[in-house]
Amino acid sequence: MPDQLVFAMEVILNGLMAGVLYALVALGFVLIYKASGIFNYAQGVMALFAAMTLVGIMKGQVPFAHLINATFGTHIHYFGWNVPALLAIILTMAVMVLLAWAVQRFVMRHLVGQEPIILFMATIGLAYLLEGVADLMWGSEIKTLDVGLPQGINLWIDESTFNIFGYGFFIDNLDIVATVIAALLVAALVAFSQYTKQGRAMRAVADDHQAALSVGISLNFIWVMVWSVAGFVALVAGIMWGTKSGVQFSLSLIALKALPVLMLGGFTSIPGAIVGGLIIGVGEKLFEFAIGPMVGGATENWFAYVLALIFLVFRPQGLFGEKIIERV
């Protein structure tokens, strides 16, 4: 088998794994967009916030330590304990639910019935506010996140591919874990929205507010729930990205990578977010591998956006989005 083909296979596999991570972020967008028609620009920052909170709790950091020390002239930074990963994840989730409640109570509730662009602007404001709060709470230095997920090259794949092709594939264990977790997450989300009372109520609210009220659904409750679920997805994405490349502010920029994913998959489709993520992941790695050297590399920076642009021209609703039919 020619070497180039074997390389390409490895590139595709790695692309799929990267795509899973894009898909995880895109999922959070889809959830909120489906249920409330809001494009939540803050989704990426939510992932950052979740990851920072998780690290902070695990290391026993005192929240707002800098602020407290500056105000009272003290020098406290750590409680002096370490919280086990699982407990820290649960606590972080509680913080995300609290955040969801606060967003609904103090921002979104006052904007019910406003134009989508206004809601979008509100989420931009939210993104920067949250970034500031995260900074203030946990400090702005780059942190490492280790919740005990396996990392490094998967030796079994390395060996078995070496035996077959004479060339060992480099697949990161973390990427495999991310894939499994993403699959579980999607299955859970689908089961939730199709079969549970809360999921059905969520779809009802997404469709018509008045009708939802008339069958006894509390809009506030559903919106808090949706933002909580999006917070949970952000937490999962934050853990994956944080473990991979450290918890830092550039994490919030992965939100921008989710945009082309959504263009491809459609803003309203959960499977679309996954497939879109995989296409972007594989596409950008393969493009860099095949075409990159000819144009001087660094195609990963723009490939996804150009692909999204092409999609916008030919299929604006995305692969799985609801088709927009205008009656004339």
């Binding site: 859970a188 089961a191 939730f192 079969y195 549970t196 009372k197 809360q198 059905r200 109520a201 779809r203 009802a204 997404a206 469709d207 018509d208 008045q210 009708a211 939802a212 009220l213 008339s214 069958v215 006894g216 659904i217 509390s218 809009l219 609801e322």
Partner: protein, 272 residues
């Protein structure tokens, strides 16, 4: 006849029970505009109660007060013998008051069946894990709710469109789906906001028949708003007549028909 707290018997021999809902001195203002002015009336168990009046009389406002969409500045709402605290619309719905809307509020993206199923959300008691895993009681519960819904779908003769997305249905059928969804909640009180508005004669006749059948078959207490006098008089047991936010008549269709103030309101008399 109407004074008895024990209820009364209608002309066609149906037994009407005690008071289900009582509105006491309701006043509703929007800024300086008085939409409802000091109106009191009651709705009794098993009856079809109509609220009629010319456009802008405040009928829809009254229905919105009952269903919690509007909060009156003055007056009390009594439901099943106790004063109702201020409630939000979804809480009113959970209490057993279902409604339809003048401008149809359906879940356009869902099928007819899914729409009607949302009326059963209040009957889903198993927990979220059971439902997600489709385990244990969740499946039995789903079957039970599904049966109740199928019964209503049969009853309203919309079997043939069960799987059709609501957005594709004509107006008259949408109204019927909305009625089905309200019925699925097994309401103690069913509010219909202009159920016949915008319908042709045939559709109106169908709808009238369904309203009567629902009342007869399920014993549902119904309060409806309509400005088509003819339809209302045939359907209802008692009628409240509103004009400019005031109550100008209350009684059986015959009593109302012969009420001079009502005649003036409908035919137009100069208010000096």
């Amino acid at each position: 006849m109407l004074d008895s707290s024990e209820g009364y018997v209608t002309e066609d021999g149906r037994k009407i029970g005690g008071v289900v809902m009582e509105m006491k001195n309701i006043t509703l203002r929007f800024g300086g505009v008085v939409a409802i002015k000091d109106i009191s009336f009651d709705i009794r168990e098993g009856e079809i109660r109509a609220i009629i009046g010319p456009n802008g009389a405040g009928k829809s406002s009254m229905l919105n007060v009952i269903s919690g969409f509007y909060v009156p500045q003055e007056g009390e709402v009594w439901f099943h013998g106790s004063k109702r605290p201020q409630m939000r619309p979804f809480e009113v719905a959970q209490q057993g008051i279902a409604r339809t809307f003048q401008n149809i509020a359906l879940f356009e993206g869902m099928s007819v069946l899914d729409n009607v199923m949302t009326g059963r959300l209040g009957f889903m008691k198993t927990n979220i894990i059971q439902q997600a895993l489709w385990k244990g009681k969740a499946e039995a519960e789903e079957t039970e709710n599904r049966e109740a819904v199928e019964k209503i779908i049969d009853f309203l003769e919309i079997q043939h469109i069960r799987k059709t997305p609501v957005s594709r249905l004509p107006y008259g059928l949408k109204k019927r789906v909305e009625l089905a969804r309200a019925l699925a909640a097994e309401p103690k009180l069913l509010l219909l906001d202009e159920p016949m508005a915008g319908m042709n004669v045939e559709e109106k006749e169908d709808m009238s028949r369904f309203i009567l059948d629902v009342n007869d078959e399920f014993g549902t207490t119904i309060a409806l708003i309509e400005h088509d006098m003819g339809v209302v008089m045939d359907l209802s047991d008692r009628v409240v007549v509103m004009d400019y936010g005031r109550k100008i008549g209350d009684g059986t269709p015959d009593e109302v028909r012969n009420n001079q103030e009502v005649i003036d309101a409908y035919l137009g008399v100069s208010h000096d």
